[in-house]
């Protein structure tokens, strides 16, 4: 078992030696990793640590203020900067998942280059953990916070040097560390939220109207699902554009012994198959009966194997009634997964009644949403987030 006390004892002298007499700025998002990294670094270098949260425009409802209050309670003062305009400008016109992630990375670290100068800090501290560099080095997805590991010289390019105190740990170990450091339960038990935030849940090009509907959908999912159901739970939004897929409908009807129609969305999501990146389309199934989630999650594999374009299998929960069956422009997928360390994950077996309640609320709150689905694809072959 991971010994958090021993880890702290071994880390403190190393971190102090690394920072020397310099000041360091922590890139804080309020997520578990950066909060725990902040607490550990605070213990190591105390007043030499400054904290900054960038409001990228992709945070959840009211989040920047909540994080500031939460960290204050944990003894760390955080400054907040609204830089959402810079991010929206940098992402304009981009729809490929990797291009978006790379544009996010460039914008993020250009700003931190500027801010480390403002704060007179030699070092930038971040909460990078093992899955971040493993997925990036493996070419599955470029996590925005991976720089040195892929050969980026941060001192030359951005003007700061990096400290990553948690780089060899997994999420469950980081939580134990947070607890050992005396952080409040609400800090170290929070469900993870990716650095690029809602950007990776807004599939394809990011627009302010889709981000607004996504933000409402995510809040609804977070209201109905709890940490007891899933280690991560959220909604993603994508275009409804696509076409009926007769062959998949036939295959699914046979698989589930049910009347099934299949709709192949043009939207693409990231997956991992046999240690290789897979960027494929979303297929939405409409089944006659409410099948158990465990059955759906098991049998989706046959659809993913036999249809090379398909990355994820989504099952329709509810759709918006429109005149003459017209499709509204966007669709939403609810995702809830169980995992220890986020390297693999299974689909949470949320009851249909609860899925329907969430879908109903999402449809009522989001006038542009056509269908609400539940994503029944585990990792592998999917990943946890969509992009």
């Amino acid at each position: 078992m991971f010994d958090a006390a021993k880890f702290i004892e071994a880390s403190l002298p190393k971190l102090r030696a690394q920072a020397g007499e310099h000041d360091a700025l922590i890139a804080l998002s309020g997520g578990v990793d950066s909060s725990v990294a902040a607490a550990l670094m605070n213990k190591a270098i105390g007043k030499h640590l400054k904290a900054l949260l960038l409001d990228t425009g992709f945070m959840r409802e009211g989040e920047p203020g909540q994080v500031k209050a939460m960290m204050k309670a944990a003894g760390i003062t955080v400054e907040v900067r609204d830089v959402s305009g810079e991010f929206f400008a940098a992402l304009k016109g981009l729809s490929d998942a990797e291009e978006k992630r790379k544009a996010f990375r460039e914008t993020f670290y250009n700003i931190f280059g500027r801010e480390t100068k403002n704060f007179k800090c030699e070092y930038l501290v971040q909460g990078t953990i093992a899955p971040d560099w493993i997925e990036t080095e493996g070419g599955i997805k470029s996590q925005h916070n991976i720089l040195e590991q892929i050969g980026i010289d941060t001192k030359t390019k951005f003007g700061f040097r990096l400290i990553e105190p948690l780089a060899q740990l997994y999420k469950d170990q980081v939580r134990l560390l947070g607890k050992e450091l005396g952080l409040p339960d609400e800090v170290y038990s929070r469900q993870p939220f990716p650095g690029p935030g809602l950007m990776v849940r807004c599939i394809g090009e990011v627009r302010e109207d889709t981000v607004a509907e996504l933000r409402k959908s995510v809040a609804i999912v977070e209201k109905h699902v709890t940490n007891a159901d899933a280690q991560q739970y959220f909604a993603a939004i994508f275009e409804s554009k696509g076409k009926d897929a007769m062959n998949i409908a036939e295959q699914a009807s046979h698989l589930f012994n049910d009347r099934c129609s299949a709709y192949l969305h043009e939207a693409k999501a990231t997956g991992v198959k046999g240690d290789l990146r897979f960027y494929g389309q979303l297929v939405g199934l409409k089944l006659g009966k409410r099948h158990p989630i465990s059955e759906l999650s098991k049998k989706q594999l046959d659809i993913v194997i036999k249809n090379e374009v398909v990355c994820r299998v989504l099952v329709k929960i509810l759709s918006q009634h429109t005149s003459r069956g017209q499709k509204l422009p966007y669709s939403v997928a609810i995702r809830a997964i169980r995992t220890r360390d986020f390297m693999t994950a299974t689909v949470s077996e949320i009851e249909w009644a609860r899925l329907e309640a969430m879908a109903k609320e999402i449809l009522a709150a989001c006038p542009h949403v056509w269908r609400v689905y539940y994503d029944v694809t585990p990792k592998p072959p999917a990943t946890v987030e969509f992009e």
Binding site: M1, F2, E135, E137, Q168, G274, L301
Partner: protein
């Protein structure tokens, strides 16, 4: 305590192999794919686990470092996972290549023979799979310890050396019995060192 190397073949779960062994209270180190058998011996390892990777076994064996040499010649216990498991076949005159039916996610594996490595894991266990390729022809001198519905050679072993291959990723610790295979391998390493 034994010291077991985890070779960084390039797969998603290589680092978890080292974590798993350390969580069992043993010593483990992630070593580069370029490592040789002589280096493993010189560095005092009691056993080696070779992780999975993105290489396709049929035409990318040149991207698998010295794994084939380790598989052929190591005296220390070897546990070859995923692509390294597949590599055992061509290394001993068998064949590996694209699977008719790849497997991803939690899949049931059926134990044919518990032997040493699968002690306590029968009659079946659920574990994570993530493979596009598989062993197609089992080389002579190997026996099958487990299979799944879609894959015949899930676990194999050499007739008289502690050389084992497993197609799946128990190091992800998602399945209830996943830890057992590593406990067994640690025991095999301890016994082999006596």
């Amino acid at each position: 305590m034994v010291k077991i190397a985890a070779v960084k073949v390039g797969g998603q779960y290589n680092h978890l192999i080292a974590r798993t062994i350390m969580d069992l209270g043993e010593e483990s180190e992630l070593v580069p794919l370029s490592i040789t058998l002589q280096e493993l011996e010189a560095q005092g390892f009691d056993g080696v686990v070779m992780g999975g990777g993105p290489q396709r076994v049929a035409d990318e064996q040149d991207k698998l470092g010295n794994l084939a040499d380790i598989i052929r010649n190591a005296k220390m216990p070897v546990l070859a996972l995923c692509v390294a498991h597949q590599l055992i076949a061509p290394a001993f005159g068998g064949k590996a290549g694209p699977a008719a039916q790849p497997e991803f996610g939690a899949i049931e594996v059926f134990v044919d023979d518990e032997d040493d490595l699968l002690k306590g894991m029968g009659p079946s266990f659920k574990t994570v799979q993530s493979h596009n390729d598989e062993i197609l022809v089992l080389p002579k001198g190997f026996s099958v310890l487990a299979h799944s519905e879609k894959c015949r050679y899930q676990v194999i072993r050499h007739a008289n050396r502690p050389l084992f291959g497993a197609q799946f990723h128990a190091e992800t610790m998602q399945g209830e019995k996943d830890e057992v295979i590593f406990q067994n391998f640690v025991r095999i390493c301890k016994e082999s060192g006596k």
